[in-house]
Amino acid sequence: MNTGHATTGHATTGHATTGRPPGRDPAALLLTALRDADISVVASLPDSWLSPLLTAVDADARMRHVKVTREDDALGVAAGVALAGGLGAVVCQNAGLLVGANALAGYTHLHELPLLVVAAQRGDVDDGFYYQAYKGRVVPPVLDALGVPYHRMRGGADPGLVTAAAGQARLHRRPVVLLLDRESLLGEAAR
């Protein structure tokens, strides 16, 4: 397998830390970036860090917000949007990518259907809960094993990275994952 994805994931670490306007609402920035990427269907399962973003998606009449009961269904919904020629987004906690591993692998290697995942990267250095820790350790190497490109967003919401990842998904005809830290999702409230 091409293990370049590991490089991809780590090489983009820190990409998000420059050029952002300070103090702006990260949910609004991320929502605008999703819209700018021509994404109008968002399938989700919640996480406390995702609450502002999901509230913003719900409040935007241009967004179709699909609530699912398992993350693999969110991936399926986004893949269906791709089959129709568009690009859909999944918003979930990183553990949802473990639930959705078979779907991610199938859409990456079998169907080649693009979609964008915006995932809360729980269990990293900014997360104070022991029960979340395994997710931070396990999810990146699982994505590497699945051959799914991923990029870290750290230190604040980075709309440019959302746009770039959506473009990569379309170009590569594959799912692309963004793993967002606490500040990228909650902004100053995370401090």
């Binding site: 269907v41 399938a43 179709r64 699909v66 609530k67 699912v68 009961t69 398992r70 693999d72 269904d73 969110a74 991936l75 399926g76 919904v77 986004a78 893949a79 269906g80 949007v81 791709a82 089959l83 129709a84 020629g85 568009g86 859909g88 078979n102 779907a103 692998a105 199938g106 079998l110 169907h111 080649e112 259907l113 005809r173």
Partner: protein, 197 residues
């Protein structure tokens, strides 16, 4: 009822512009055997993912009526999707479940439990989910399919079909990604013709 009879019954209820998505397994093979002219995507693996794929597709193409040809084994793998579809409530999605009570391609092993999938759909909030009796005749099943299309979506017919051996077919010549490309090119050609076939 034989599964090919059910596939032909559904095919007879479709218009030329209807789009079909098939789950993996014997239901999809029955649909292929029925040789309906409709644009069809055979979703293949991962198992359990066809309903959400059809949901996303239907939401992205609100002007097209979409029918999912589904197996009861595929749906049993992921009953939660019934709630997701009920919540999103796409008016253009219909689902026909071929219910043989077993994993036909896998060797005929029976499903867990005593599933009443129409009842499960209703419990999840579907407005219409009908399950004609196991011994229903062709005319009665055709009526149920017509009622499904006459209702607002999402709507479902769950029809018991006879167990019929369905061993693995020969490996296909084209990959799913290649089939997807053909499907998407046909969709694009429709749009160039004004959105319809």
């Amino acid at each position: 009822m034989r599964r090919l009879t059910l596939a032909r019954t559904v095919a007879a209820a479709l218009t030329a512009d209807d789009i079909v998505i098939c789950s993996l397994g014997s239901a999809g093979r029955a649909w292929r055997e029925a040789a309906a002219p409709n644009l069809t995507y055979y979703a293949s693996d991962p198992m359990g993912m066809a309903p959400s794929l059809a949901l996303g597709f239907a939401l992205a193409r609100p002007g097209d009526r979409v029918t999912l040809i589904e197996g009861d084994g595929d749906l049993a793998m992921n009953l939660g999707v019934l709630a997701a579809i009920a919540g999103a409530a796409p008016p253009n999605l219909r689902v026909v479940v071929f219910a043989n009570g077993r994993y036909e391609t896998g060797g005929g092993q029976t499903l867990a439990g005593r599933l009443d999938l129409a009842a499960a759909a209703k419990a999840c909030g579907w407005e219409r989910a009908e399950s004609p009796p196991e011994d229903a005749g062709e005319a009665d099943v055709a009526d149920a399919v017509r009622r499904m299309y006459a209702a607002g979506g999402p709507a479902m017919v769950v029809q018991a079909v006879e167990p019929e051996a369905s061993p693995y077919p020969e490996a296909g010549r084209w990959s799913q990604a290649e089939d997807k490309a053909v499907f998407q090119r046909e969709l694009a050609a429709r749009e160039q013709l004004g959105g319809r076939s």
